[in-house]
Symmetry: C2
Subunit: 326 residues, 2 copies
């Protein structure tokens, strides 16, 4: 069933038969633990998600002829780390829904969500250790500290003017760093070639940046039902993403920014006016263009590799993100 | 200063000059991160703690002639993992003080405490990876999942009758499993001898069990100022530890247990009566005797090693726990 759902994305084709094996490997991780942890993990995995990060790992592992069992373990580790961070994110943000399903903090309790996240971190580390690569272990631990540090920055600088550079650092920590990890880890259990690491690092990082920008753009232009949250909820919460930053570049003294975004004095009606002006300003189109730039940098790095079905799939995965009907 | 404080414990002697280096190694872990994380880590490390777990690792590493830099890294990893679990524990329990200092959740916010714990997990894993031992990485991840699973059991079975076996499983997960890790990890970066692992596993696990039992006993008989929390706060919260379990063995039908502990209907005055009866029943003495048994099993395993100052210190560390004025 999971396979059926994912078949619509053509980039899964070279690795489609591995997806259920990764899913099974992840579910195995709660075996022998308290039944709540088993329920919680199944709840999280049943909620779907596109499994983009594990797809990256599987495609690149397959391109590098990594042994099957090892690539499944690595892909499960990557996806598990991502899942763990989402559990704590939802708790900190007080989110009650993710992908239309209740979050653990709303379904059970904050304590249960804290411990589930911790358990999944432990199991992600265990899976990473099972790849028998010290480089991979090191990277997992390091990337997790980058992700968490990024969340701390966001928590403590929630409101206030932020620069374009702050934004790019934030989305690197939040999304691109794990895309990068997912893309380079397979090299460490195959060629260990430094140039391969460098090129796939560029690919993963830049595609990750593009994915996060598109995610942020969809908050402005996405259909509410599709994104699963109120339109432009980011800005309403004081979160300045790329479209707002481009608007600010052109309108640095718009007083509504001080009032709403920085001081947090939300009056939805005037807020709607600001959002409307951002949408009319061309800022969203600039943000999409920026995502396209990142994607092209990633694709240029990818083009250095010999042609193969996996390479084609990696290219599709990158393009599907920006070639959508915004 | 930290050294001065710890010098009172004679078992630190063979490794006393390493303690500030472990402390520095831990503080280093927040370098380059958001200043909140630096403050939080310093706050946690300034709060003291006896650093028993890192002492175990240092003493055994020294006994096994592990190279200095590597033993410091390993000891810092062990202590960091412990610190991370405390941060989330305090948050889940809603504790406002630990060792007389405000907890992160009370000083900052729940979100800040969640992320600090996550960051410390990441850095503990990074330090463990820096020992360059896959076995150690594997053990760290596995033990963390044991600890967290134990906390989940405690969270979901907070009230209700629990058996002696439940209690021993719980304190193994909560305390003994990390004492065990601290004791066997040094072997994996030295002899890798299976018999050494087995014996030190017995030592670490049993000493850990004894430490947790004594901690639970001190909740009954400890001086409030010394323990830093109200006397018998465990039972008042519905937490049945070893003294209460021994009392229940002799008085299985005491209706006050149903009322207070299981149903959570707390009437402090009657509760005082129950506590008084437990104290008079000899249950506390039985619990201390049980801690002594665990300690002896640990010491028997330790006795298999050749005499050396570290072995003597490990023996003192175990005995200081039970040879106190209860």
């Amino acid at each position: 069933m999971e396979n059926e759902r994912l078949k619509q994305f053509s980039f899964f084709e070279p690795i489609i038969e591995l997806i259920p094996l990764v899913d099974a490997k992840m579910r195995e991780q709660s075996e022998g633990s308290h039944e709540y942890l088993q329920d919680a993990l199944n709840h999280l995995l049943d909620s779907g998600g596109k499994r983009i990060r594990s797809a990256l790992t599987l495609l690149i592992s397959s391109m590098f002829k990594v042994e099957k069992e090892r690539m499944i373990t690595l892909a499960a580790a990557v996806e598990m780390l991502h899942t763990a961070t989402l559990v704590h994110d939802d708790l900190i943000d007080g989110s009650v829904l993710r992908r239309g399903n209740p979050t653990l903090n709303s379904k059970w309790s904050p304590g249960a969500a804290i411990l589930t996240g911790d358990y999944l971190f432990a199991r992600a580390a265990k899976l990473a250790a099972e790849t028998n690569s010290l480089e991979i272990m090191n990277m997992f631990a390091y990337k997790l500290s980058i992700i968490v540090n990024g969340e701390v920055v966001q928590l403590f600088n929630k409101r206030g003017r932020s620069t374009m550079e702050d934004y790019f650092q934030k989305i690197h920590a939040k999304t691109a760093s794990l895309f990068e990890l997912a893309s380079i880890a397979p090299v460490y259990i195959s060629t260990k070639n430094e140039e391969d690491v460098r090129l796939l690092g560029i690919y993963g990082n830049n595609i990750g940046m593009a994915f996060q920008i598109v995610d942020d753009v969809l908050d402005y232009v996405g259909d509410q039902a599709q994104v699963g949250k109120p339109i432009v909820s980011d800005l309403r919460q004081g979160l300045v993403t790329l479209p707002a930053l481009y608007y600010l570049e052109e309108n640095p003294n718009d007083p509504r920014f001080e009032k709403f975004v920085i001081e947090g004095d939300e009056k939805p009606k005037d807020m709607d006016g600001l959002i409307e002006d951002i949408l009319k300003s061309g800022a969203v189109e600039k943000a999409i263009e920026k995502a396209r730039e990142f994607t092209n940098i990633g694709l240029r790095a990818l083009s250095e590799f010999a042609d193969c079905p996996e390479k084609e799939a990696l290219s599709e995965l990158a393009l599907i993100n920006i070639n959508r009907d915004f």
